[in-house]
């Protein structure tokens, strides 16, 4: 191991530490900050980000990366060097003034978007979105040249390292054939909604139940906490995970399933290898694997008759006011119905929301579509994919923050994550033949151990595809996801 490599580790440790500080400040902004702190917080985030960018784009870093590559390195250090180079290439590709212009455009656009969404007024935000898209396309084109991939793939690569739209196209095309007919059959087969005890469900009791189940699944409270925020997320750092959720006193299951979802993200972060903390190779391997961990805990493990058999007595204890029936809770947790809003969508219709956004953002980045045509194209896509048309843009193309916030190339990772979750859970079930019985006893140690070994502890030492192939015996395969859906909804 060369001096150059050692020097790089020191620099990237500093960079990773600044990222950690940013993560805590972001969490605070969503979960604790009073309204009047937002301007100062924006300054704090901007200064830390630009300090990070300056440090990462120093010219001497390129020489060190070349030099370090010439000496022999073990597997993890070689992978670390590869990830360093990846981060450096992304940062170097974009000139500082473009980074700054985009950052300002996003702030301006996001603010207007909040009003536009509330008033369902796409025209209000269209000019700002146009500006953001123009700058994002400049970024995509600069990164495309630097990374040697298409502009869209260059954006995708930020969230999904090594991800390629050519592969996504194949996977999504298959789902698009499978899902419409499947959805019709599920809707026919599922029968009426089960009757469940009515609320209100006091927030404090929901919270106590959620904390208890987080513990059951394996969340380490020495290294994390749960708070409330408008938009639930899992943030913070591997040693200090900050989960958030929100409580609806009329419906406890949304909050509870939300917590289990974020717990999946949290377990991934808490399971990353301590020896590589704050190094690029020590990070989670991209957004589709991250989403797979949340969906594995929520969709695969928790929305199951096994888990709800375990959880029903705890739910009854928390809320009283029964009778509580595991089978009814389970049927309720897997009910399917097409709707306008992605974040409320069930497992079967969710991919349609993602495929729509993926198609549209790709067309916009590749200049095959204009911003002005977005609302009509959105509604037409909803009609084709789900057979429903949003009555207004608030429930249509204004619903998600992503594009207005500069996150282009992110959407496909949700459905890649769902497919990955199904494939990992199937492999875990092969390794642990009594997994269902374990879950029905609230014993998550076996599953968590399998995930630790096969996913969490690998961090970014492998590509997502290689990791999945090692863990499950094959690359990502839509057939596994389809088999899961058939088993659960028509089984």
């Amino acid at each position: 191991m060369s001096d150059a490599y050692r020097q790089l580790e020191r620099t990237f440790a500093r960079l990773g530490t600044i990222d950690e500080a940013l993560a805590i400040l972001h969490w605070d902004m969503s979960a604790k900050m009073p309204e009047g702190g937002s301007e100062a917080r924006a300054e704090q985030l901007a200064v830390l980000k630009s300090t990070h960018h300056e440090m990462l784009t120093r010219p001497e870093l390129g020489d060190l990366l070349d030099e370090a590559g010439q000496a022999p390195l073990d597997d993890w250090r070689r992978a670390n060097l590869r990830e360093m180079r990846r981060e450096w290439a992304h940062a170097r590709a974009v000139p500082a003034d473009l980074v700054e212009a985009l950052s300002r455009a996003i702030s301006a656009c996001e603010t207007v978007w909040r009003t536009a969404r509330r008033d369902s007024d796409f025209a209000l935000v269209a000019p700002k979105l146009e500006t953001v898209l123009g700058l994002v396309r400049q970024v995509a084109s600069a990164k495309s040249a630097a990374l040697g991939v298409s502009p869209y793939d260059a954006l995708l690569d930020e969230y999904e390292p090594g991800g390629r739209s050519a592969e996504i196209d194949v996977l999504f095309a298959r789902l698009e054939v499978f899902l419409p007919d499947f959805l019709g059959r599920v809707m026919e087969a599922q029968g009426p909604a089960p009757a469940l005890p009515a609320g209100p469900f006091p927030a404090e009791r929901q919270r106590a139940l959620a904390l208890r189940l987080m513990g059951v699944v394996g969340f380490d409270f020495r290294h994390g906490r749960l708070d409330e925020s408008t938009h639930p997320f899992c943030g913070g750092t591997p040693d200090d995970v900050r989960m958030t959720t929100r409580w609806d006193e009329a419906d406890f299951s949304t909050g509870l399933m939300g917590v289990l979802h974020e717990t999946g993200h949290a377990l991934y972060e808490q399971g990353l290898p301590k020896a590589w903390r704050r190094q690029p190779v020590g990070r989670a391997r991209g957004m589709s694997l991250h989403e797979s961990q949340s969906l594995l805990v929520e969709m695969q493990a928790s929305r199951s008759l096994d888990f709800l058999t375990f959880a029903t007595p705890l739910i009854a204890e928390a809320f009283g006011n029964g009778p509580w029936d595991a089978h009814a809770l389970w049927r309720d947790s897997v009910r399917v119905a097409p709707g306008f809003i992605r974040v409320d969508a069930d497992e079967v219709t969710y991919p349609a929301h993602v495929i729509l956004r993926y198609r549209l953002e790709k067309a916009l980045i590749e200049d095959r579509m204009r911003i002005a045509d977005l609302p009509a194209a959105w509604n037409e896509g909803m009609r084709t994919l789900l057979g429903i048309v949003p009555p207004d843009d608030r429930r249509g193309c204004l619903q998600d923050i992503h594009w207005f916030d500069g996150a282009w190339g992110y959407f496909p990772t949700y459905t890649l994550g769902a497919m990955t979750a199904a494939q990992l859970f199937e492999a875990a079930g092969r390794a642990l033949p009594d997994l269902g019985e374990q879950v029905a006893r609230g014993a998550f140690g076996g599953l968590l151990g399998w995930l630790r070994t096969n996913v969490h502890e690998k961090a970014s030492s492998l590509s997502a595809q290689d990791l999945l192939t090692q863990a499950t015996g094959r690359p990502l395969d839509a057939a596994v996801f389809e088999a899961h859906l058939k088993r659960r909804y028509l089984g």
Copy 2:
């Protein structure tokens, strides 16, 4: 205004922004962070601090400071330049490796101190404290040379810009003559403790009452919040003040008075001039003025029959279980008794605790005393000043974190703050002849307005002495504090 000055404002804005990020991370560490996050948090703080130090000690800053001083500047910019130079001089005086060595020594010492205090075992921590003191003395000597003041004053200057021990000696000597005899007379005169309704006082009700009274005094909840922590403090930033407290269900008055104390700090921060945010001249003017603001709200305004006349119905409403009597609550709030612990001390005995620490830390910095002799010297000082001797070092020289945490030269600001508070409150009373009646109605607008104009909005544009002279007509005068004590306790 020169380009050099403009460039300095940009650099110091970045530095001030990093300070803000550090303040939020510090608050989080005390109020929210799970135990297992401490190692990573230490890294985050260290990296941000060293980034700050590197930015502040860049050689070109000295040239810019010289150049900016040659062009004409208005009063506030000239003051800003003076404060920039002050921060720069403090940072430049100490070599980076000494900063780092001290930072490590403090971390090591603080950890051992926690055990040593718990076990009342001074010998355990003495070697670590010796190391800290050795490095602090190196810092003092380096800063002494750079600033042209004595080593002790060079340390004091960090907390109390322009503060000098020659002046403190005079003020404290006078108090030391006045207090022992005065204390005896107060103890004789005050009679038996008043009978008050017994608890428990549920934490949630204490919190609701505290929030209500914070609002009465003028705390702006758009720019701040209240949380719980083991050691109450007021942190965060002017736009986002983070106050903490703790609740004792057996005794509500400690928590309530603690909240009013921290609210005084918070009002100062929230009242700093927005136009100079994140610039050196826009900061609070040193620790004695800061402490004066907390003691003005707590000791001067709130521990008064006027305030408790207003607050008693609210206390009764919060806790029920009366009868609640304003006069009894007031007598309870100003009870005097010598004790071992500084943070529990009343207004009359508090200065003795401070004078003791000031004497000892000065002797240690000036190498007139050895660490090994500290416990005996402490106990002897307590005997002389307060007539009591701590039964163990836990209640003696191990009680405060300051020295073990590297804060030398801080202690005198507590009593300078108490004297300043008395002098400011007297001047406010002259400007607002019905101040007592206002407070008795819960109307704090007049007092807050006077403080905004005469203290908060001045920020660091003046020295503490000049600010006080402009606000009250004279420099800091122990006679005003003595007159206040006589009026309250023997009046």
